[in-house]
């Protein structure tokens, strides 16, 4: 029943698009104010999608296996929380979530833009409606969450146990708030071009939306990485996997856009670039959706490998791109740019930020899509993995970090370097600290020293600024400080992590110079939908520290999978990470013990980064 309501709700939602178009066009040239009927239709459209979403949710909660999606992705023994999160943990449901946020955001946009020009608001709505209609059609034609199966199966096929995790349950909604936020920026930019509204006022207005999308995208990526670390068992949190890259690309573009809009807010320059970025960010979001759902790329996190759906998204994506192209070409009036930048000014430092960010974006984009091109053209299949990205990105981080440290210190338009002796002093301190820390490293000593120096430098400069009574821009400072902390934590984690890999039977012990790991015992238990095997290990260090680690193996019945659950001991300086795995045909287990410094700070600094966005949003007014 709820599936039926869900389906027709979607149809009505789509129908509303046509009503919205009709009344919007009618209102466009007539009357000063925006017709209130339009806002109610937009709200109604959101409501219908919400009803549809709830319809799917209820089907999941009730384990209604007459619904094909529920049958494919759920099971009656699943805990309630995961039945609920299973709603969006599949291709069709996640698209419904996209649609939900799309319709919600455009409604909020209309509510919060009352002081903006009517034509601009209507155009934003219409461009967003094009996207919304595209998603409606995609859902109804190729990814219907409400397909009916008969005869009704007694039991579902079960959700992948790796997805049964609280973090992963909230990761998609948060991430989608970010992705879909970029749709509003896209629609707004096209609307602003068409109504000749690109101006400082528009920049100030759209900045809020950019911040919202950015905060959620940052958080979404953070949650995904935390999940990867805790759940996947390899002790890492970023692998340059296509799905990870696909979330990073819009983030890079969005961060760049944020910096540009800060310039545009004050002076009418960089307008074409802001427009191009606004369009590209959403295009990258959509492109990402395409790459991940069409099956064209091979990755950890593959959703739905269906070329038919892939084709639809591809065509839809390029319709949007060509549409933006068209609008830009025919409606955009370039302002006369007679102004130049003084070389030592804040504008220039933002240009440099853009320059580097676009380079990083290029690296990730080329790395992710190149194998596709190569295979089509020459039928050769290659892999592009972490070594590629590390080699191309890390060296450029050094000048980037220095620019981030000095940039905010420059004044708008023109700047002098005076009374800035601390700039040199901090550099020396950073260098000394860095050498002290990296001193035992044999390989890449020089390189790592320079890198750590740059990270420390940014850290100290931004740290000092917090104590400045005349600090003009706390959110920016917090953001740059968090970023420096993030890079520093990642560097320290990389340089100082180590692991011990060994094979042990129960009652056996591994001994080295610094560690003694004893396999004490093994315990088996039966839980709601899996059987668990917990190994008890005592880890003694030469400095006297003793830990008891309990890594776990879980054997699920539906579907039949074995997962390895790491035991992680956390403190603010380091994590101790242990996993236990079966070895085929042997009676011993493969034990992996990892020592990972500063993991806590990697998470905290990223959280602080998104909070800095929130701070900026809350402060509201111009920030110098």
């Amino acid at each position: 029943m709820s599936s039926l309501i869900g389906y027709y709700s979607l149809v009505f939602g789509l129908g509303l698009s046509f009503l919205i178009f009709f009344f919007s066009i009618k209102n466009f040239n007539n009357y000063q104010k925006l017709d209130l009927k339009i806002i109610s239709f937009v709200f109604l459209q959101f409501l219908f999608v919400l009803i549809s979403f709830l319809g799917l949710l209820i089907s999941f909660v009730n384990s209604d296996f007459s619904n094909e999606t529920v049958f494919n992705h759920s099971h009656s023994t699943k805990p309630l929380f995961y039945k609920i999160s299973g709603t969006w943990g599949n291709h069709e449901g996640s698209l419904l979530l996209w649609l939900l946020v799309l319709t919600l955001f455009i409604f909020l946009f209309l509510l919060r833009s009352k002081d903006q020009p009517k034509k601009y608001r209507i155009l934003t709505l219409l461009f967003q409606q094009i996207i919304i209609i595209g998603f409606f059609v995609f859902l109804l034609k190729t990814s219907n969450p409400f397909n009916y199966i008969f005869p009704v199966p007694k039991e579902g096929l079960g959700l992948n146990p790796i997805l049964q995790d609280p973090l992963l349950a909230i990761h998609p909604p948060i991430l989608y708030l970010g992705y879909v936020g970029t749709s509003v920026i896209f629609s707004s930019a096209l609307a602003a071009i068409s109504s000749n509204y690109i101006s400082e006022i528009w920049a100030s207005h759209i900045k809020k939306w950019i911040l919202i999308a950015w905060i959620f995208l940052t958080l979404g990526i953070l949650l995904g990485s935390i999940w990867a670390y805790y759940e996947l068992g390899w002790g890492g949190f970023w692998f340059w996997d296509p799905v990870e890259n696909v979330s990073l690309m819009p983030w890079l573009a969005l961060t760049t856009l944020l910096h540009c809009v800060l310039v545009l807010e004050k002076r009418l320059i960089l307008t074409s670039w802001v427009v191009i970025l606004s369009i590209s960010t959403f295009a990258l979001s959509m492109c990402g959706t395409f790459l991940v759902r069409s099956g064209i790329l091979n990755s950890v996190h593959t959703f739905a490998n269906d070329p038919e759906r892939g084709l639809f998204i591809l065509i839809f994506l390029f319709i949007l791109i060509f549409l933006s192209f068209f609008v830009f070409l025919f409606f955009y009036k370039k302002e006369k740019n007679t102004k130049t930048f003084f070389w030592l000014s804040k504008e220039t430092s933002i240009l440099i930020n853009n320059w580097f960010m676009m380079y990083f974006l290029a690296v990730v984009l080329v790395g992710t899509t190149y194998p596709i091109f190569l295979e089509v053209i020459s039928s050769e299949k290659i892999s592009v993995g972490p070594p590629f990205y590390n080699k191309l990105i890390i060296p450029f981080l050094v000048p980037f970090l220095f620019a981030m440290a000095i940039g905010p210190k420059l004044k708008w338009i023109k700047s002098n370097i005076e009374n800035k002796s601390y700039l040199i002093l901090f550099f020396i301190i950073s260098l000394i600290l860095s050498v002290l820390i990296v001193r035992n490293l044999e390989t890449n000593f020089l390189f790592n020293t320079v890198l750590v120096t740059a990270a420390f430098y940014l850290l100290f400069i931004t740290l000092r600024e917090f104590f400045n009574k005349k600090m003009i821009n706390p959110s920016q400072n917090l953001a740059h400080f968090s970023f420096s902390l993030l890079i520093l934590s990642i560097l320290i984690n990389n340089i100082f992590s180590f692991e011990i890999v060994t094979n042990l039977r129960v009652n056996e012990t591994y001994e080295s110079e610094k560690f003694k790991i004893s396999f004490e015992s093994i315990e088996q238990k039966k839980k709601q939908n899996f059987k668990t095997i917990v190994g008890k290990f005592t880890v003694e260090q030469v400095n006297g520290e003793v830990d008891i680690m309990r890594p776990e193996l879980r054997i699920y019945n539906q579907p039949n999978i074995v997962t390895s659950e790491a035991d992680i001991k956390i403190n603010i300086f380091y994590d101790k990470f242990m996993t236990m795995n079966y070895v085929q045909n042997q009676d011993y287990f493969n034990i992996r013990y990892q020592f990972k410094p500063f993991m806590f700070w990697i998470w905290v600094s990223t959280l602080m980064l998104s909070l800095s966005g929130l701070l900026s949003f809350a402060r509201g007014k111009y920030e110098k």
Binding site: L351, M358, Y359, P386, P387
Partner: protein, 120 residues
Amino acid sequence: MRSLKFLVVLFFVFNSTFLNAQTENLSDKITKNLRCLICQGQSVHDSDSAFANSLKILVKKKLNEGLNEEQIYNFLKNKYGEWILYEPEFNKNTYLLWLLPIMMFLFGGAIIFKLFILKK
């Protein structure tokens, strides 16, 4: 202000006793660069699958036989294709891959220079 800086330095020096810079061994370096072919996006080093475990043993064997890193990659490339290597080689198939981002960097720099710095 100065005292704060001094404290931070002290803090790090004291705590760096738990930090021991590790140089990874060659076997780990190689297995991190190999793709586990039956996994969905994991390196041989990180994976615990049967294939990955066999490959780890094989890499150690080959190192003991005296092969160097490049020879081991070539050996595996002959069996499984370039797909197994995470770091793409620099050959006629991949010139664009490695050079395109850098070219775009230079191109971007040139645009900035021309549009904003040169208009005097």
